[in-house]
């Protein structure tokens, strides 16, 4: 059994210790996209928001769409890591760190957008409650201040949730390498040994963090939805937004996770550790979330259509049959029609099938964020001010750069930290046969090894 464990450790440490040309190619390619995004952001900070496509009355466009989208993607880690940890689902072991990394980086990227979309971004720190000689505090009644608290709590919690289980793996790398690498990882390992009391404390801390991070995650996207529903804008002022957004976030998060896992499996040769059963299980979760998403969209639109409110109907028709109809129906196909078909049929619920469905879901969820933010602004109460929104190349560059930043950060992370938690995999191995005989009749769904 030690031999299997040691092979596993060697496999999972391989990306850290060996670098192929593909790594450099990825970093250079995505790094240049990120660099162009940074250039676009600087350009916009210097000249003003006018270089974007927004105008009166559509004052929020791609910036807020991307913000909501990335915060949504960040819900992957919490669901997989925290919830599956709490219910002690063993099949979570290979995927927890992949998921937590998505959360951490998606949150960091998402949290950039409220800063860069400000008219005066250099003053973003005025949202932070601290004693200043200006003698003014932020307005706690504003959803944007709630955003600050929620996202910083979630980011801190997620980074800690990600970092704590990395400590034993850093200790492993410290022991298996020499020289500068060993010293650096030794520092990161904080002197971890692996005594029984340390393991107990770590596992208890992870349980506490899992219990704490789930309500925080739910509250984060709820508060992000409050950015919209607190305004009396027709199409925004809906009480269903809070659960709708959380469900959508978990939905897009799982899709992002499946995609990340599919790429990792291919590029880091993790076929032995990420099995088709993992993708099948996540695919079933994705199917459930797709159905739930369809339910929320239907409920929301039914109430609007049935109510026939004079202010809300122009928004409704704009998305159903008007200017935004092509985007709306693309979104429905991407989020509901295609995933439900592909993921319901067992034959198509393969790794490739799940990955394709996840691609369409990621696209569809971005479209959904766009269609929630922009059409209500384009059809507000006074018909004189009806307008339409056309994004500029600057906004597209920033959007592309945010995606590239995700890939870049992920690539860099998997180079320096084992992307599958080695100690969690070891802990999931069968114990000594004398203590617990291997189940003869029924295999538990999603064993960590065949």
């Amino acid at each position: 059994m030690r031999a299997t464990e040691n092979t596993m450790a060697a496999d999972l440490l391989h990306p850290l210790l060996n670098t192929s040309w593909r790594f450099y190619a990825l970093v250079i390619a995505f790094g240049s996209v990120v660099a162009s995004g940074l250039a676009a952001v600087s350009f916009q900070a210097y000249y003003g928001i006018g270089v974007w496509g927004i105008h009166n009355p559509i004052y929020w466009g791609f910036g807020i769409t991307n913000f909501i989208f990335w915060i949504g993607i960040s819900h992957a880690g919490t669901l997989i890591s925290a919830i599956l940890r709490l219910v002690d689902a063993q099949w979570r072991r290979p995927v927890t760190r992949c998921a937590e990394v998505i959360t951490a980086f998606a949150l960091m990227i998402g949290a950039m957008f409220p800063i860069i979309h400000l008219g005066r971004p250099w003053l973003f720190f005025w949202l932070v409650p601290y004693p200043t000689e200006r003698l003014i505090w932020p307005n706690f009644r504003s959803p944007l201040v709630w955003d600050f608290f929620a996202i910083s709590t979630y980011l801190t919690g997620s980074l800690l949730f990600l970092s704590l289980p990395m400590i034993p793996d850093f200790a492993l790398v410290r022991d298996k390498t020499t020289g500068l690498r060993s010293k650096v990882y030794g520092l990161l390992a904080l002197g971890w040994r692996g005594t029984t009391s340390q393991w107990h404390r770590l596992e208890t801390a992870m349980q506490i963090m899992a219990v704490a991070i789930i309500p925080v995650a739910v509250s984060v996207h709820t508060i992000v939805s409050f950015d919209l529903s607190m305004a009396p804008t027709p199409g925004w002022h809906s009480t269903i937004f809070a659960p709708y957004f959380v469900a959508g976030a978990i939905f897009s998060g799982i899709a992002g996770l499946i995609l990340a896992m599919a790429f990792l499996r291919k590029f880091l040769h993790l076929e032995k550790y990420l099995h088709p059963i993992h993708f099948e299980n996540l695919g079933k979760l994705l199917l459930t979330m797709s159905l739930l998403w369809g339910y929320f969209v239907f409920s929301e639109r039914l109430v609007v259509w049935y109510g026939n409110d004079a202010a809300e109907m122009p928004v409704f028709w704009a998305t159903q049959r008007g200017l935004y109809a092509p985007l709306f129906w693309t979104m429905v196909t991407c989020n509901f029609v295609f995933p439900v078909i592909v993921l319901s049929i067992k034959k198509t619920r393969t790794i490739l099938g799940c990955a394709l469905a996840s691609c369409t879901v990621v696209l569809g969820m971005w479209l959904e964020r766009f269609l929630i933010v922009v059409p209500p602004l384009s059809r507000k109460y006074l018909p004189y001010t009806y307008s339409s929104y056309w994004p500029t190349p600057v906004e597209f560059t920033i959007l592309a750069a945010s995606g590239a930043a995700m890939v870049l950060l992920y690539t860099l992370f998997s180079k320096f930290v084992p992307i599958i938690a080695i100690w969690e995999m070891k802990a999931g191995e069968h114990p000594s046969p004398e203590l617990e005989p291997v189940a003869q009749q029924e295999r538990r769904l999603g064993e960590t090894h065949a």
Binding site: L164, G194, R201, A212
Partner: protein, 167 residues
């Protein structure tokens, strides 16, 4: 000396060594078992298991709640601006900020206590063998008294391949 120990290839032999140590009169608080993964299926994994992290987390949450309530109530009163006819101390929005800081308090308390009480942040792990990272389980007595040291020398070599080591 820093300690006396031996390395075992699997959990069963480590469990036998621990039981041997106990038979020789070594108490649980003196026994150290080090492994590269938590081995909860074995009894020895419960050594040193008691911890009060849940209480610490709750305490941290309570502190977060008190701090956040003070922050929002005092600062809203300090800068009493009329916004849309809402009350100056508006409880619905305040609850949101209070919730977030409560959770943050619990999280910080947990992580801080974990680092403080786990013996982390030490420069060099004093009683440790890198063979643990190859899957060996290290069982021994750290900073032993003379009596515990002799007991360990007798108890630890459970079979010919197991060699006693001292640091």
């Amino acid at each position: 000396m820093k300690g006396v120990y031996a390395l075992y290839p699997d959990g069963a032999s480590a469990q036998r060594a621990v039981d041997n140590l106990r038979r020789e009169g070594v108490t649980d608080s003196e026994i150290t078992v080090i492994s590269s993964a938590p081995m909860e299926d074995f009894e020895f994994s419960h050594i040193g298991g008691k911890n009060r992290l849940w209480y610490v987390a709750s305490l941290g949450g309570a502190i977060g709640l008190i701090l956040s309530t003070s922050l929002v109530v005092f600062m809203e009163r300090d800068w009493a601006v009329n916004t849309g006819g809402m009350p100056i101390v508006a409880w619905w929005p305040n609850l949101i900020v209070m919730f977030e800081m409560t959770m943050l308090g619990g999280i910080f308390a947990t992580v801080g206590t974990l680092i403080a009480t786990s013996g982390l942040l030490r420069r060099r792990p004093p009683f440790y063998d890198p063979a643990v990272s190859d899957g060996m389980i290290m069982v021994g007595v750290e900073a032993p008294s003379a009596q515990a040291a002799t007991a360990a020398e007798r108890a630890l070599p459970i079979s010919p391949e197991i060699t006693l080591k001292t640091i």
